[in-house]
């Protein structure tokens, strides 16, 4: 029984896990959990993850949630190139430092535009303009802090080579970019960093991973997205209510 990854590539952390596994040639069976179709609230998925969230890893009988835990597990188990999650004490500490900072400063903020521009309207909910504006401001302030803190020494977030930190960050930033926010304009350092990460990953892999999120707005415009059923809609409303 091989490795299974339960993912929806609409989700930023899922993309990070997907890209990592693909780039490192880790063999896995992809199980798509379509969030818009409510597959994460099915009885079957609940057995796997009572929290109804993706990504999830299943390795034999071992089930693991939380993208950073999954990335670290895969790094160790498949003995990937050291740079992803360096063994060096200080280099590794810098990766964890980024992951901690990321949770407070990036996660939860850069995902909001998908809600305001696509998911809210999909269920007939318009998010107030002041919240949209507040989120835009929060994103730009976060990017400023990101550049100040992590773009000093080194060509990547925590040093001179790509780590899991860069993946987690890039995939969060891709979310609003896919929704038409030009986060990179006027930010040459950030732009150069993104180019380096994408060059390292390769255009094909980036296209595979980003295809779903990059086409979501167009699909919404063509009414091609499934309308979530009531149980999913009420969960979506709870998420929308948490937008500051």
């Amino acid at each position: 029984m091989g490795l299974k990854l339960y993912l929806d590539l609409l989700s930023q952390p899922c993309r990070a896990v997907y890209i990592f596994a693909k780039k490192n040639g880790i063999p896995f069976q992809l199980h798509t959990v379509d969030l818009l179709k409510g597959q994460h609230v099915s009885e079957q998925f609940l057995q796997l993850n009572c929290q109804r969230k993706v990504p999830v890893l299943k390795d034999g009988n071992f089930v693991l949630t939380e993208s950073s835990a999954i990335l670290i597990y895969l790094s160790s188990k498949y003995q990937v190139a050291d740079h992803w999650y360096p063994a060096d004490l200080q280099a590794r500490a810098r990766v964890h430092e980024y992951l901690g900072w990321h949770t407070d400063n990036i996660r939860g903020i850069f995902g909001v535009p998908l809600w305001t521009k696509v998911l809210g309207p999909l269920i007939g909910t318009q998010i107030p303009e002041e919240k949209v504006e507040r989120n835009r401001k929060n994103m730009f302030e976060s990017l400023q802090r990101l550049e100040e803190k992590f773009f000093g020494d080194g060509t990547f977030l925590t040093g001179y080579q790509v780590t899991v930190a860069d993946l987690m960050c890039l995939e969060e930033l891709m979310q609003p970019v896919a929704l038409g926010y030009n986060l990179f304009e006027g930010r040459p350092q950030l732009t150069a960093w993104r180019a380096r990460v994408e060059a390292f990953l390769g255009a094909n892999l980036c296209q595979q991973a980003h295809g779903r999120i990059l086409s979501i707005q167009e699909q919404a415009a063509k009414n091609a997205l499934p309308v979530p059923y009531p149980e999913v809609q009420s969960r979506m409303m709870l998420r929308i209510a948490r937008i500051p």
Binding site: F62, Y73, H96
Partner: protein, 212 residues
């Protein structure tokens, strides 16, 4: 030069680091950064952590922020007993899973519960609307249930038979609500089953209980 830790024991992550270092006999110089006096906003502290937050660590020229990063750095550098962060791949992954989960869930709920139940009304003289308090406590309830049903289950500690970083981080969060001055022990309004209370007792007995 000895390791330096910049902490305010009012802060949950600071407590986890303090307890971990003390319990493992890691020599360090304590620098108290008094949050209530705004010492974290000083230029001097900004030299240590430009983000102006505690905890922060300085090991000769190497400065580090973020509590999980600091705990893991100490774990590896000082070669603490394996149970804190097991070598076993799956056991370790469970600790990583908990540490990732708690950051936006239990941590947030405990902080909000303390502020809405105690800090605002008692220390700042500001009443919190009852719907806000109710929502905060409801969120805390949800997260404590996940702590019990997903992580603790019928185990002695969160990831297995022995205490780990997960328990240390969890207990310093939960004590944020129980140790407030107007509350004694685990108050009745704090949701939780017998299992949660027993885990609390076990964790407290393994490490020294320090009052800040």
């Amino acid at each position: 030069m000895v390791l330096e830790l910049y902490l305010d024991l009012l802060s949950q992550p600071c407590r986890a680091i303090y307890i971990f270092a003390k319990k493992n006999g890691i020599p360090f110089q304590m620098h108290t950064v008094d949050l209530r006096k705004g010492e974290h906003l000083s230029d001097a502290f900004a030299q240590v952590n430009p983000v102006k937050k505690v905890p922060a660590m300085k090991d000769n020229d190497f400065t580090l922020s973020e509590s999980v990063a600091i705990l893991l750095y100490l774990t590896h550098k000082y070669k603490v007993p394996d149970h804190w962060y097991p070598q076993d791949l799956q056991a370790r992954a469970r600790v990583d899973e908990y540490l990732a989960w708690q950051h936006t869930t239990l941590r947030r709920s405990c902080l909000r519960a303390l502020w809405h139940k105690v800090m605002f009304p008692v220390f700042l003289g500001e009443q919190v609307p009852s719907e806000t308090l109710a929502a905060t406590l409801a969120e805390l309830d949800v997260n404590l249930r996940v702590l019990e049903d997903k992580f603790l289950q019928d185990k002695a500690f969160l990831v297995g038979p022995h205490i780990s970083l997960a328990d240390l981080v969890a207990i310093t969060e939960v004590m944020h609500v129980v140790a407030a001055p107007s509350l004694k022990g685990i108050p009745s309004w704090l949701p939780g089953t017998i299992e949660l209370r027993q885990w609390w007792e076990r964790s407290s007995s393994v490490r020294p209980m320090r009052s800040s």
